[in-house]
Amino acid sequence: METPASKLVVQNLRKSFRSQRSEGSMQVFEGVSFSVQPSEFISLVGPSGCGKTTFLRILDGLIPHDDGEILLDGKTVIQPGPDKGFVFQDSSLLPWRTVMDNIILGLELQGVDKRESKKKAERYIALVGLAGFEQHYPHELSGGMQQRVNLARALIVDPQVLLMDEPFASLDAQTREIMQAELLKMWNQTKKTVIFVTHQIDEAIFLSDRVVVFSARPAKIREIVKVGIPRPRSLTVKRSKEFLDLADHVWSIIQDEVLKSMGREREEGVR
């Protein structure tokens, strides 16, 4: 279980939301436990609505959980802060701020000197390949570029763990593949611990050391799939047998879960 070397430990996490229509509450997930090694890249997949976003928000400390514990570097997570970096699904960039001013947001909130922040930002702007766009506003950027800003904004605070919620979901297939490759390159350079939520099974396998598969709601961890494909990986590994076998395996678990949850919904509908 909890080895002292673990970066992030999640123990027996449970979360329910007060239901809006009926009395009582809706269980989102329960008994979720796993631990993450430093610099490990973990993906989280599962049927839609099983609580992946909720799980990430709890890890960040944005919303409270009912039971269980989260330890980051051995310390309990209680609130959001610069030790965690969050990359949201669609660009939640402030539309009235330039690329530069969006990227330094986290430092600004900590009260870091503006000139210093901007100098630091140059490095991250170069890292995500946005040099020359510092003074552009978000609406002047493509979706892919906005997500690069989103990523730089999370990286610049130098977080202990990077939480990413379907960051490439709104991108077209080509841009998504390019971003995946670039993310791996950046991860290689920064050696961050990453928790990456996605719907794309091939994306999860391509990026990760391990893929955590959630069951349908109320969610539990169905399986943690280890990805043994050696690094560095190029996009061509997506066609290798090892890769396709893993994808098939993860896909069959999720399909099974989706069918189960559909059956359950039908029952609830009848009642």
């Binding site: 959001p80 949201f88 402030l94 909130l109």
Partner: protein, 284 residues
């Protein structure tokens, strides 16, 4: 640069100037050949002559000063109070529930018609006019501030929270700048209402001001003088509008189509429903 290039560079301005000049010419022609009756219509040339005469006698300065003071004082107080109350309503659910019926009533009531009461109560001078201008100006700003603040995209707030933003930082770095386009819209809407408030309240009883000038001149059949008042009001309203437009451009740099459209078009329709019903958070 050739003439064609000069035209292309200033196309919009050029067209506007031509439009104004032609309009004035048409007005002059109608006056001289069609309606040749100085009691009903006076052309630009006679208005200009009257303007110069009023100006040289020092009469105009007095009236412009009176109206300007009423307008600017009532407007500024109205804008500050409207903004403040709008912010408080957006931050405190309780305050919102308590104030919203009153705000709705006052916003929709034809307050101008209360002008005689104000004049009876507060006298013929500055204070009664200021009060009416205040009431005319306060609500558009209040509504738009409230609506702007309570419809700021929740995802932006969450993003700032995720990076450790405090409540205070969220207010100053997201809610306030996010509401700014609508606040500016409110400021612009209030200008027209405030000007009308100032003039109409002068109609009901005053000793000076452009509204006074217009009524006094009409009653004495000095139509040209009345026109001077009207033209000056139009120019004043236009100038205020331009100043605010300029301020808006300076204050809202990242204005995308979406952001801007969200500001000016969508909300004016919604502004009423937001105070009477809870506002839904904007999300795509």
């Amino acid at each position: 640069m050739s003439a064609a290039n000069v035209y292309r560079a200033h196309e919009k301005k050029f067209d506007a100037v031509v439009s104004v000049v032609l309009g004035l010419a048409l007005w002059e022609l109608i006056d001289s050949f069609l309606v040749n009756n100085p009691l009903v219509l006076v052309g630009p040339s006679r208005v200009a002559a009257s303007f110069l005469s009023l100006l040289s006698r020092g009469v105009l300065a007095r009236h412009v000063y009176a109206t300007f003071t009423e307008f600017i004082l009532g407007y500024l107080v109205g804008v500050v109070v409207g903004f403040g109350v709008g912010v408080v309503m957006a931050l405190s659910r309780h305050t919102k529930e308590v104030l919203s019926p009153w705000v709705t009533i006052w916003y929709n009531a034809p307050v101008i018609l209360l002008a005689p009461l104000f004049i009876t109560a507060l006298g013929l001078g500055l204070v009664s006019k200021m009060a009416i201008v205040f009431i005319a100006a306060v609500f558009p700003v209040l509504f738009n501030t409230y609506t702007g603040m309570s419809t700021v995209d929740g995802r932006l707030i969450e993003a700032v929270r995720a990076f450790g933003g405090t409540r205070r930082q969220i207010f100053f770095k997201v809610t306030l700048p996010g509401a700014l386009p609508l606040v500016m819209t409110g400021l612009r809407l209030s200008v027209g209402r405030a000007l009308v408030g100032a003039i109409v309240s002068e109609f009901f009883g005053s000793r000076a001001g452009l509204g006074y000038l217009i009524t006094a001149a009409s009653e004495a059949f000095r139509t040209a003088e009345a026109f001077v008042g009207v033209v000056l009001l139009a120019v004043g309203g236009y100038a205020t509008f331009e100043v605010l437009k300029y301020a808006e451009r300076r204050l809202l740099p990242g204005t995308s189509i979406e952001y801007k459209g969200f500001a000016s078009a969508s909300i004016r329709r919604e502004e009423m429903s937001c105070v009477t019903k809870p506002c839904v958070k904007r999300s795509r």
